[in-house]
Symmetry: C2
Subunit: 366 residues, 2 copies
């Protein structure tokens, strides 16, 4: 959003975090096919949907990815329009603060006042237009200096998200009201979550941010001296033959810290843009009930679900006929080599399934 | 068992009824792959197990099949040792009386006093040696003239089988006691079935018989005049160019009658050999719990079942890993193109599943 030499306002950059390795969608998700590469909603991989959502807001040459080394190929294939120079590799996962700092370092080389949007690769958004409006406003606000976060209007007292307590209004930009942030709240217990939703003064922290790279890096320097030292070391070698080796060394010594905890919570100036665009982090199989259209016996994706007296199930079975009798609130996932049948209320126990698979040396199934 | 010219006792013939078309094992069983061709117990098709069980009792050239026309190829392949002249084709299914009469007609040409064993192709027997002993005795008794049926000692008050009330003992042959049959009882209600089992004087009718072909055909002539007329017509053309055409015409006009109702119930002289060789008709998915070895979370076949807190399930999923969480008393069947999840107590509702598949024109899945 800074003025380039011609005087035009330059478009923001988008940094898409595509490093997820979750097993919460086993057996559909695998080591080499994590959630962001799965096509279980629209038929396109979530990463592709995330990129498409930026159409008209972030030009292709401003779209960037942060990915683990072994997913570079698969992610680059899905993100055909993203220049390879915009694919930033994280040698090992160290949560969001380090990889966003690395991305900011890259972008500072191109434009020290560049506005950078930080976006997870694997969320679902029902209303893309509303999403772009909110981000356009966030970018405009960030242009002035503060770090900006989107706050999602909660639809239920979810205890799985962090919340943002909204402070006083700071006015409107690009048609969107925005506020000071009173404080960030870590995942609350049920009672607190209920009071937050009832009072209406808390929003979900969706991990979607906007900031100028100089402002963000200044906060890193101020709040995260170890990370800052690492970034300065990397800065010495960026674009040279030693870049990958040096990042590899530096990275493994870093602590895993989220950008929320490491930067946002104690940043000097933070703003929140309240937003409501049909957001879901698609955090588990049971979340599919919110985002897939309802059909016979529940929701289904890429399957022909033939239900006899079944209710509220999630059935994912690419190119298969799935018949269920008397099945309630149950997840059925079938892929070529593996099958999962699990009550939706127990989908957290997938961790235990995956642990057992590892323990029994069945790693081909991971 | 009749004496041939050399004075030696000739071995019995076995007529294996392989005409089943059931959908009770959908989605594993299909139109072109009915239950007798499925390999869900030992890894061999049930028809193959049935043939192997005859080793030492019935020589290969005395083994015969009755099959529908479109299964001739598949059954003959499984029954490699059976001469093609012993594969008798039924043009349309008319239950067991007509097809056993046809088989008896074929065998009469070879030896009018031949003893013929009638066996379903798709049952399970745990103790093959005990099975052969019982049948050896049945054949020896049949050699003297009566129709002989095996009676299985009931292990539970099953209402899905016919019962045989055992009459007075007629002595012992080949080490097996045998009895008159007091009467055949159609599938009883629960209360009766319980009293039968408690009293110990009733046996299950397993559809396994032995008789001389002349004695059997004499009963057909006496009790089933329409069928007898048909058999006489077929006798005129057997072995000629008109055989298939004529059988085709005659067959479609026949009534469907089981050999139990049409012949056994009112036969002049019937004997029963009580037997106990670990028999199951494997009549439904839930029957697999009796015949497969118990493992983690229930029984499984050709699958790697990873159970988290699951109990008493039946999992059949060739070459797949199946993970279940908190699943009780449930059937999970997975094949390449179709999946079934169903409480074992509701496996009768498979009929409804199959009806729906037909109704919706998804006939590829049948």
């Amino acid at each position: 959003m800074t003025n380039d030499e011609s005087g035009a306002v330059s478009a923001p950059y988008a940094v898409i975090l595509a490093g997820g390795r979750g097993t919460r969608f086993w057996p559909l998700s695998r080591r080499d096919r994590p959630k962001q590469l799965l096509a279980f909603l629209s038929g396109e991989p979530l990463l592709r949907e995330t990129l498409d959502r930026l159409e008209g807001l972030v030009p292709p040459e401003h779209r960037c990815l942060v990915v683990p080394e072994d997913l570079v190929g698969a992610c680059a294939k899905v993100a055909g329009e993203v220049p390879l120079a915009n694919v930033f590799v994280e040698p090992v996962g160290r949560n969001t603060a380090p990889c966003l700092a690395l991305a900011a370092l890259h972008l500072r080389r191109r434009d020290p006042e560049a506005v950078m949007l930080a976006l997870p690769a694997d969320h679902h958004v029902a209303d893309s237009k509303g999403f772009r409006s909110a981000l356009r406003a966030a970018a405009a606000i960030a242009c002035e200096g503060p770090l900006v976060t989107l706050g999602i209007k909660p639809t239920r007292p979810d205890t799985g998200f962090g919340y943002i307590r909204v402070g006083r209004s700071m006015g409107e930009l690009e048609g969107q009201e925005f506020h000071r942030v009173d404080r960030f709240v870590e995942k609350p217990d049920r009672v607190r979550a209920e009071s937050y939703v009832a009072r209406g003064d808390h929003l979900w922290n969706a991990g979607i941010f906007a900031w100028r790279v100089d402002a963000f890096l200044a906060e890193i320097e101020r709040q995260m001296p170890e990370l800052w030292k690492a970034i300065e070391r990397i800065d010495q070698v960026l674009g040279t033959a030693r870049e990958r080796e040096e990042i590899g060394k530096v990275w493994s010594a870093l602590a895993s810290v989220s950008v929320d905890v490491g930067v946002l919570e104690n940043a000097v100036e933070v703003r929140v843009v309240p937003a409501d665009f049909g957001w879901s982090d698609v955090g588990s199989w049971s979340a599919l009930r919110e985002v897939l259209p309802a059909g016979e016996g529940g929701v289904q994706r890429a399957a022909r679900h033939l239900s006899i007296d079944s209710e509220n199930c999630v059935v994912v079975a690419p190119n298969r006929l799935v018949a269920t009798v008397g099945l309630k609130d149950t997840l059925v996932v079938v892929v070529d080599d593996a099958v999962l049948v699990c009550p939706l209320s127990r989908d957290q126990e997938l961790r235990e399934v995956v642990r057992r698979i590892e323990e029994e040396g069945l790693t081909d199934y991971l």
